[in-house]
Symmetry: D2
Subunit: 301 residues, 4 copies
């Protein structure tokens, strides 16, 4: 098929290359000259603007957005809109909030353009291993661009799903990331506990490696853990500072909205907030209160 | 009544003074010369050893232990034991683990000495306001030394309870402290949230003061919070480092033993552990994993 | 002063009565005939519509809203608006979301009407004991209607605070309720633990009563606990089903928005959600997974 | 090699068969006639008593214990002890508490018998896929019986680790299970959230299947989830009742002992306790308190 890949960042460039390798005609779009040069070196066509790229594709066209979630998606759609025509399919493969995707699908439908939301998992390894894709939107459109999904996925018939109507794809990806937070925190706590047990002098990389085969906790995240710990067993030089990208927050808010108690996903998010607190006011308050009622000494800064 | 108060630390000296003021004959015991001198200046008799103090009291005697929980209690009992005689009552007013108290009561019973476990709450304010007392052990003995409890409590008929058999007093005190952890953490989180909301420029001391009267959250801990925040609204100079004294841990362990889910008390304890982590391994692990799968930059130390 | 109290539910009727007793001229407004009749029996004037009530007051007028948060407030303001004139002060004493209050204040300012947001705590006991009030909005207006606040509060000079600009009052009330959730959960867990410790056969009402005097955990909520437990020690006949009113959710969302980790307040909310789950899907999933990997039997429904 | 497998339950019988298939001479030991008959049908030798089995093996002998953790292990060792001789190696492959294993190793060393603690993961799938093994104890002994570990593991050189001195094996297994609790809870919460989002009518089995390939959350537990959900998408007929086997409790206690905050593993355990509460006293207490201060109706049983 022919496809325009808008956004040639880490994810977009890899996905464009995987599609290109898979025999599709890909036109990568990015305003950045360096991004375009790097993409061109990977063998596929590039354009500086979406308008230019769309002009090169035969109609109806397929456009894949791989840009930062939020306002950038709306801006990109606004600039795309004049150049789209009836029957085109636009796929948002980024980490958009599913309610934004539902709104955008409704808006584009007024122009007879189909909008699909596609949660994309796999990170930097997706180029080689394929991406796990969760797709929301019109079934006929999903079928029409199925060749694209089959190439991006790890295999033709696995690793992708038409999850449901508009929004369902990004909803599933949001939950996927919430689960990811919980799993990561579970491993992190377990390895922290083993690291603290100095009397056993455990080699965490070797323990992780043993778990990779046959254990109940084997997983891809464990493979990555084993790799990280075998190269840097004490994680020296890494700061205990953990960003979060938004999807964890949405998952927590959605769970509360739906009256679902999700303590582990929630605490995993709070732990990340906590990792970034430099001088916790609540902890200082506890220290002040202990001093007040018990005369306990406060540690001074 | 006559009573020996063993241990003239912050709590013991205050309790001895309250008993002395209440008309009891008190002999304070402490190996430390300074502690004895300070106690003597408060008007009651002192001795360097329990043996000396016991010799001054008419039998059957009442002995109150106010020493650090754990081994010190057992050591104190071992040194007391040769000097005790049938009918004496020993009261442990410290923060002992209730199962230790049950064991000690059984041991002393073999010597016809009654052991009472008395959870004591009130901190440094107890001298003036009285102590809340939760007592475990033989009912007849509790009645016999009731005059002591009535003087230590805020009022003759309130602020103290014979909770149940041996261990029941320290058990209730343990749970009391677990609740205390949860309440403190709730206030700390709330004030931290208001402090972070800089757009409102809230005066936390004034808000706390307004809550002291008529609000659902009014409490003695809030009174202390209002006092602390009115004097130091930003808690300047206080480190976010919160010790824990053991009773929170016992409460968490007991809850799990009894299959009771107590998430708030448990998380309050974990938050204190967390406050003392300088370079969390689990947070560094999360950062390393994010880098592994997403290529996200790690913050370096 | 003169004041119209719009909404004669449990809270509004009590507040109107407290103002009436305090010497103010109160006109209660409620569309419900029964509510008006009941209010009239308490001694103050009533009207069926706000328009009618406003017409009876001399300008500039003071109007207090005590209606359910959300759309009802906007509807009430819409119906009030044509009858308001320059200089009037409208006070929302309900549990509105603080961002709604900020929006409403801006809207009314265009009509030269001042809007104050007043968080009101105290529940059904406020009539006798006074209410704790946290007020947001224009300082001059707060001063102008100060006599109202002084009467509603437990005392002239305590129990109320002008917290800050528009929104600050309801923001503080929101946090107040978050703290309330955490405190309630801490007590509930502690009493549950004591109730489960059947070997001590504790009388929870007596333990709570002893804590009311001199203990670190004494509070108004403990007073209520002691009362409830002394009358119904096993809480017989009460279902383990706990509603939540919205303010806890807002507090949790705000904390996450501000990157403040508030695990205890958050878990207190989740516990309420959990109390209402009849057939938890996540627990069934855990059971299914244990069966899958370990061959453990699943309990059937 | 030759080996006695003591305990022919679900795990022991499978492990004996895998060793038998791997060319080792296995004598299975179980007091139960049915267990022995079933084992004999799988092709390997059986005995009713350990004494009988030991007499058939050439010295020094290798004995593998696969019996329930706790007292049964001590009883088994007591009955084995008279029949062991210098140089024998006893391996505890069950879920023993690591401190018990350290104590037992010290005791057996006095009889010149080497005790190895081996955490065994893999569940009912281990027969075909091999077991992940974490071994603690003397390095020379581990090397001597290495052929056993290499056969039980998924491959000769992977899936097993000599983790450290006595206790290290069961310590790692304990942490492994703590992580397992956290991961299971993370998946369970995520699927519960998707199940509750009825507007998307998600097919959870299909979503899980898509995640199995290429996603960040792919794992063996996800494979099992996909299998369970594809066969029973609503988990009909399964009760929300989740047992726990002890290792989660030990992990939580160990974390607190070591001052490591492990909120996700801890909450995963508490959630299981919670799943088994039929009539939560703490929830009833919350309901009673809401009624006390706010006049909110209580739901009756």
């Amino acid at each position: 098929m022919e496809i325009a890949m808008i956004g040639l960042g880490r994810m977009g460039a890899n996905m464009a290359e995987r599609l290109h390798r898979g025999g599709h005609r890909v036109i990568g779009v990015d305003p950045g000259e360096a991004a375009r040069a790097s993409a061109a070196a990977r063998g596929f066509d590039v354009s500086a603007t979406a308008a230019e790229a769309l002009a090169k594709l035969s109609v109806p066209r397929v456009v894949w957005l791989m840009v930062p979630a939020g306002e950038v998606v709306d801006q990109t759609l606004a600039s795309l809109s004049p150049h789209l025509s009836e029957g085109d399919v636009v796929i948002d493969g980024g980490n958009s909030y599913y309610k934004d995707s539902m709104r955008r699908a409704t808006q584009l439908l007024e122009e007879d353009v189909t909008y699909l939301d596609c949660g994309t998992s796999g990170g930097v390894w997706g180029l080689q291993e394929g991406y796990s894709l969760m797709i929301g939107g019109d079934a006929a459109a999903v079928e029409r661009v199925g060749a694209i999904f089959r190439t991006l996925a790890p295999a033709e018939d696995r690793g992708w799903v038409h999850a449901g109507p508009s929004g369902a794809g990004h909803f599933c990806k949001m939950v996927h990331n919430g689960i990811e937070y919980g799993m990561m925190q579970a491993y992190a706590e377990g390895f922290a506990l083993m690291q603290r047990k100095t009397e056993f002098n455990l080699d965490l990389g070797q323990v992780a490696a043993a778990w990779q085969h046959g254990s109940v906790v084997r997983s891809w995240l464990l493979d990555l853990s084993a790799d990280a710990l075998s190269r840097n067993p004490q994680l020296d030089g890494i700061a205990p500072f953990v960003p979060d990208s938004g999807e964890g927050r949405w998952t927590v808010a959605e769970a509360i909205d739906l009256d679902v108690s999700a303590p582990v996903i929630t605490l995993s998010l709070l732990e990340r907030l906590r990792s970034r607190e430099k001088n916790s006011f609540s902890d200082r308050m506890l220290s002040a209160l202990r001093n007040q009622f018990g005369g306990h000494a406060m540690v001074k800064e």
